[in-house]
Symmetry: C2
Amino acid sequence: MLKLSRLTDYAAVVMAQIARHPHASHAAAELAEAVQLPHPTVSKTLKMLVRAGLLESQRGAQGGYRLARPASQITAADIISAIEGPVAMTECSQAEGDCELAATCGVADNWQRVSLAIRTLLESVTLAHLADTAPIKLPVQLPIQTISLSAASA
Amino acid sequence: MLKLSRLTDYAAVVMAQIARHPHASHAAAELAEAVQLPHPTVSKTLKMLVRAGLLESQRGAQGGYRLARPASQITAADIISAIEGPVAMTECSQAEGDCELAATCGVADNWQRVSLAIRTLLESVTLAHLADTAPIKLPVQLPIQTISLSAASA
DNA sequence: CTAATTGGGTACCATTTTAGTCCTGTATAA
DNA sequence: TTATACAGGACTAAAATGGTACCCAATTAG
């Protein structure tokens, strides 16, 4: 399915929730309630997002979580990487040399290009877009063009 | 990681192998050897590809597998779907109504658009491209543009 | 007709990944 | 000082994944 893990899904929802109220500090319990998900799991997700530098946390009473930077500067790729690690379709899309089948594989190069195109797409979608109720209206085609190009015809 | 499953990876490699010799019939054992992967696993993968209509099989002596249609008419999305099911980033990207969190989620619509963009990208990459040693040079930007623009409601 | 070849289907097991929980520690504010 | 709230890690349960084995069905060569 090329699916995101459930935690990643949660992360996106929670981040969007925070992004809609950027000035407040959000406690884990409050977010879990707002989003209707189990508290400990949301908490775990939040910790990962902090570790990835997407959120900042404040301990103690009145503490909670805030965005580490504006929603427009946090991308879908950032969120996915925070939970699942680097966006890559295959093992060999991220690191070289750790696939001893490279010789017989024959598709590695092109798979990597596809992978890169997807990563670029995900980098062009920001949290601000995700949190918005309006459809994404981004010049998504630009980065894609850059990568895969030399554009033939339609 | 947004990673493909290992079987999907195998499927792509095996399909590419067949695509490079489209006129011959390829026995599972031969392919497994060529690709340096365990026979039973390759066999399993081949069966899935047949069921998905991407390969045709011929039993008996001199039998084996052939492409069901030209490599240029088989897409990366086809191969991924054959092994993992429909390409979708989240549960709700594929079917409506089976997510009771839709109300509190708030990102579903835009996630679906991203998902659609990725699917379109994968549909624009064919087996012929993957099997080729030359870099992909496809007008990938066209479909993306189409999607992410004014995209109506869900 | 028979035997050899080759795919088809199914069931099963091992491993890994994922998700979720809990506990204990630490920082902060009232 | 006490209640609040995050930090970190260990642990468990469940599910997906990958891999194997076994037997059946079809086809072709001799």
